[in-house]
Structure formats: structure tokens, C-alpha cells
């Protein structure tokens, strides 16, 4: 089952690999990213970041869709990680209701992005994606680590509008 989808632009790093994997008791980390499948430095780094006892699976977006849709993995507790909101929406669009929980965090600043949380920034398009995913019935929150305050979509929109 898909326990959660994390959107984090560093993909697998300390907070995700250690804190969130432990929090969700995930036994599979599925990295869904079109760059990772050809980038050996990323592959080495993620391999090193994977905690003992956890299976690391690195796939393109379509490769990840195939994993998520494969009923064979139903007994596994899978944490999916994408780099962007757009990639998250792509996965959700091709996997029916498999992804129910989306956890945002670690979204670095960039052109046209506004601050939402201490270390997270979103663009207008990111917000539009979030709204669509929310309307499709998915639960979306923003939280950097398991002990930090969790923001709801409502609070995310409020912070986005406030910092415009």
C-alpha cells in the first residue's frame, strides 16, 4: 500500500530517510523521478541514505506508476517521494485512488515562489496543483519533520496569499 507521497525537492535526505521513514514505518522508499534513473551520483547518494531493512526503488515517473499499480506490492508499506507538485499530480492521475496522503516539505525557493513555511516555498501553479489534488479527495499537509507543526491546505493558501 502507498502510505504517503512526500514532495521534497531534495528527494531522499536526512529528514525524509530517517525521520519520516521511521514515523511511517515504511519498508519501501519509491523515488519517482525522471532524472534519477540515469544519474549515478543521485543513485549512489540515495542508496547510502536508505536505512537498514528498507527497500529502495528508484524509478522514472512511469516506472513508479507501474510499481504503484502492481497489486503484488499491496503488503508493503511504501513511501513515494517526488521532487515537485507536478510530478505528484502525474502519479496521482495514473494510479486512481492509490495515493491518499500527500506530505509537502523541503520545497526550496525559486522564481515566482512564495514562502509558505520556514523552509518551503510554492508557486501559483504549485497551489493550483494542490487545490486539484485536494478536490480529488486527497489529504494534503505540509510538515518538515514529524515533530514540527503541520499545515493544512487552508493554512498553506493563507500563507501564500499573505506573502504575495
Amino acid at each position: 500500500m502507498i502510505k504517503v507521497l512526500r514532495v521534497d525537492d531534495r528527494l531522499l535526505h536526512g529528514q525524509v530517510a530517517v525521520a519520516w521513514v521511521n514515523f511511517y514505518k515504511a519498508d519501501v522508499i519509491l523515488i519517482a523521478n525522471n532524472q534519477v534513473i540515469t544519474d549515478q551520483a543521485m543513485q549512489t547518494a540515495f542508496k547510502l541514505a536508505t536505512p537498514p531493512g528498507v527497500t529502495l526503488s528508484m524509478k522514472s515517473l512511469d516506472g513508479a506508476v507501474a510499481v504503484i499499480n502492481n497489486p503484488k506490492h499491496a503488503s508493503r508499506t511504501i513511501m513515494v517521494v517526488t521532487k515537485t507538485m507536478q510530478d505528484a499530480e502525474y502519479l496521482c492521475g495514473k494510479t486512481e485512488g492509490a495515493i491518499k496522503d500527500i506530505l509537502l516539505g523541503g520545497l526550496r525557493s525559486g522564481e515566482g515562489k512564495r514562502q509558505i513555511d520556514m523552509n518551503s516555498y510554492m508557486s501559483e501553479d504549485d497551489i493550483a496543483v494542490m487545490n486539484r489534488l485536494e478536490q480529488s479527495g486527497r489529504k494534503i499537509t505540509m510538515q518538515p519533520d514529524p515533530t514540527a507543526k503541520s499545515l493544512t491546505c487552508e493554512e498553506i493558501r493563507k500563507n501564500f496569499n499573505k506573502n504575495g
Binding site: 530517517v18 543513485q43 547510502l48 514529524p146
Partner: protein
């Protein structure tokens, strides 16, 4: 519920406690102690004792020192006489501290010792010459396998 006391030469303990919280967020009952050149073993023991008193004393306590062959560990060994129930570990690094901070301990000492041994075994594997690590095998992408 458990207590963790870090004891190191100089400020390492405070830095690594900050790094630990950077990754895990709030870590309750974690305290960082430093020894300087001026402290005697007796003073260091008193410092550990004082730190421990600020905690919930019914919870298990893990005391972690930086290197086995140092006065940090000498002082810590001394305190085992009064606190034989402490779990004393030497060889502090972040790859060890993170899993210990997340470890759930019970009131069964044998069970706790076994759990800590497992964490130590896995922490040894976090010492890595990264140059020797090979990239993942050719990735099978489209088949729906992990």
C-alpha cells in the same frame, strides 16, 4: 520514554545534539555535556549525575561518550557503580545517535540491551568509504518491480 546524555571532549556533544534535532525535530530528554581540560573525573561524574536528576528518573537512560579511550568514558564508567542500570555506549556519531534517539525502550533490560546491540551493528555500517560504493545495478524501470 528514555533519557539520553551525551558526554564529549569539548563542544561536540552540543553540536551533534543540534544536528540530531535538525533531522528529527524535537528530541525530548536529550542533553549534551562537555568536559574541558580542567575537570576531574569526580567533577565529570557529578555533572552527569546532575544532568540525570533533571530527567524522569524512572525512564531508562543511555549515556553516550565520544571515544572509548578518553576521560569522558573513564568518568562514565565510574558512574556505572551508582547507576548500573545505565546503558553506556562509546563512539558517538550521528549515524549512531539518530537511531538511538528513535529507539523505543521498554522496562525489560535484556530486551533493551538486545535492541541497542542491533542499533550499534547497523550504525557500524554507516562508516562508509563512499568511493567504494557502486551505483545501483542497471535499473529495471517499466516492469512494476521494486
Amino acid at each position: 520514554m528514555k533519557n539520553i546524555i551525551l558526554l564529549t571532549h569539548g563542544e561536540f556533544s552540543k553540536g551533534i545534539a543540534q544536528s540530531c534535532r535538525f533531522i528529527l525535530g524535537d528530541v525530548p530528554n536529550l542533553t549534551a555535556l562537555s568536559i574541558t581540560l580542567d575537570e576531574s573525573v569526580a567533577q565529570t561524574k557529578a555533572m552527569i549525575e546532575d544532568a540525570w536528576k533533571t530527567f524522569d528518573n524512572s525512564a531508562p537512560t543511555i549515556l553516550i561518550t565520544d571515544i572509548p579511550g578518553g576521560s569522558t568514558t573513564q568518568s562514565a564508567i565510574g558512574i556505572l557503580a551508582e547507576h548500573p542500570d545505565f546503558y553506556l555506549i562509546s563512539g558517538l556519531c550521528l549515524g549512531l545517535l539518530l537511531p538511538l534517539a528513535m529507539l523505543e525502550l521498554t522496562d525489560d533490560r535484556e530486551e533493551n540491551l538486545a535492541a541497542i546491540r542491533t542499533v550499534l551493528e547497523e550504525a557500524r555500517d554507516t562508516l562508509v568509504l563512499v568511493n567504494d560504493v557502486e551505483a545501483a545495478d542497471a535499473l529495471q524501470d517499466e516492469e512494476g518491480e521494486l
